[in-house]
């Protein structure tokens, strides 16, 4: 195919072309920057449409089927690049030499994060947004955040175990962390220096509330 993909780029991304047409577009795009860009834009739009559909967790067995099929040995699964592996080993060695009484548990870490959040709240101005349920009812959950979007503190009353916070942007969600439980309440401090305009609370893969942040 010597001619540009044109509107066939969108039809390709939507899966509307037959195999010879699709193959021709793939071949042409390899040597045409203009068509590559158009194909990429169309693909992102389709991926965003797909991401807005219900997401089902893939069966656990699929990962091993795919990776073993690719000839990736199980021991290499989840391995990061070499330099990251070296770092992990160094960290493990360091931890091995730390006395037990120095080791911190999750609760201590969470309390430490709460202390940092409280210090932020006490030290300067902050904004807040309420999480709303799918039926647009306010929930007993809020996010307090720096006016410049440099930190976030999510507080939830009566959180379910394993509740996650995600950043919603660009048609996708990015997991930020898990809410730590403190009796009847839960919290998550996020020292992220990035203006996030929408956060979601998730229970498993289900979104139970969202909050819109205004700066």
């Amino acid at each position: 195919m010597s001619e540009h993909a044109g509107e066939n780029a969108e039809l390709y991304a939507l899966g509307l072309l037959d195999e010879p047409e699709a193959a021709a577009i793939e071949l042409h795009a390899r040597t045409c920057e203009e068509c590559t860009i158009r194909l990429e834009e169309a693909s992102i739009a389709v991926a965003d449409l797909c991401a807005a559909e219900p997401i089902s967790p893939a069966p656990k067995t699929l990962e091993s089927r795919v990776l073993l099929g690719a000839g990736i040995a199980p021991k290499r699964i989840r391995h990061a690049p070499h330099w990251q592996a070296v770092g992990a080993v160094a960290a493990a060695l360091l931890l091995a030499f730390i006395p037990a009484w120095v080791a911190v548990d999750r609760t201590t870490l969470a309390r430490s994060d709460d202390n940092r959040a409280i210090a932020r709240l006490a030290a300067g101005p902050f904004d807040r947004a309420t999480f709303m349920s799918p039926s647009r009812q306010p929930m007993d959950a809020k996010v307090l955040y720096g006016p410049h979007g440099d930190w976030y503190y999510v507080v939830v009353m009566h959180p379910a175990p394993g509740m996650h916070v995600a950043y919603v942007h660009g048609g996708r969600m990015e997991m930020l962390g898990t809410v730590s439980m403190h009796g009847e309440s839960g919290s998550l401090y996020l020292p992220i220096n990035h203006k996030m305009e929408e956060l979601a609370l998730l229970q498993g893969s289900r979104v139970v509330a969202d909050a819109r942040l205004v700066y």
Partner: protein, 173 residues
């Protein structure tokens, strides 16, 4: 990760599955309807990509978008070779009335996309809904709407470009 994925480094392939496995499986499942068929589809596509040098070029940019389109196109091919699914009609019905509140889990994403779809001109929206949510070919859509094939192709193309632009702007505004 995109560069490492293009170089076919094992860790990047594993990482891509870790990040996008659920999405890819869901894309296949939403088209095919049967979990086993969806698993086979995802596995076949990923292994095809992995084994073919140059299948993904970094100029393509997004590994996520590339894999989603590969999986979806393969799933559509499989579905077309079999019986049409009632599931497509069910999903299309969700979009028949754009005023209703969505009753699905990822309502934040759904709402954003629905709002963007609702902004499209009616004839473009209709063509996109038939193509994406009902899985109809542009030939079938042309027949159903009684419009020339070229017109339908243009409407679908314009609809997707506008949608992509709207979602992109919405994500950065």
């Amino acid at each position: 990760m995109a560069h490492a994925f293009a170089r076919r480094e094992a860790w990047a392939f594993a990482e891509a599955y870790r990040r996008f496995g659920n999405l890819l499986y869901s894309v296949a499942l939403n088209v095919l309807g049967a979990p086993q068929d969806a698993e086979d589809c995802v596995q076949d596509v990923l292994l095809r990509v992995w084994r073919r040098p140059g299948a993904f070029a970094t100029q393509r940019g997004s590994v996520r978008a590339f894999l989603v389109v590969c999986v979806r196109n393969d799933a559509i091919s499989r579905a077309r070779s079999g019986a049409r699914r009632a599931r497509l009609a069910e999903r299309a019905a969700q979009y028949a009335s754009l005023d209703e509140e969505p009753e699905i889990d990822d309502f934040v994403e759904q709402r954003r996309v629905r709002e963007a779809i609702a902004q499209l001109p009616a004839e473009q929206r209709q063509a996109l809904v038939l193509a994406f949510f009902q899985g109809k070919t542009h030939v079938q859509i042309a027949q159903e709407l009684g419009q020339p094939l070229g017109t339908v192709k243009s409407r679908i193309s314009l609809a997707l470009r506008k949608l992509g632009s709207a979602l992109s702007i919405g994500a950065h505004s």
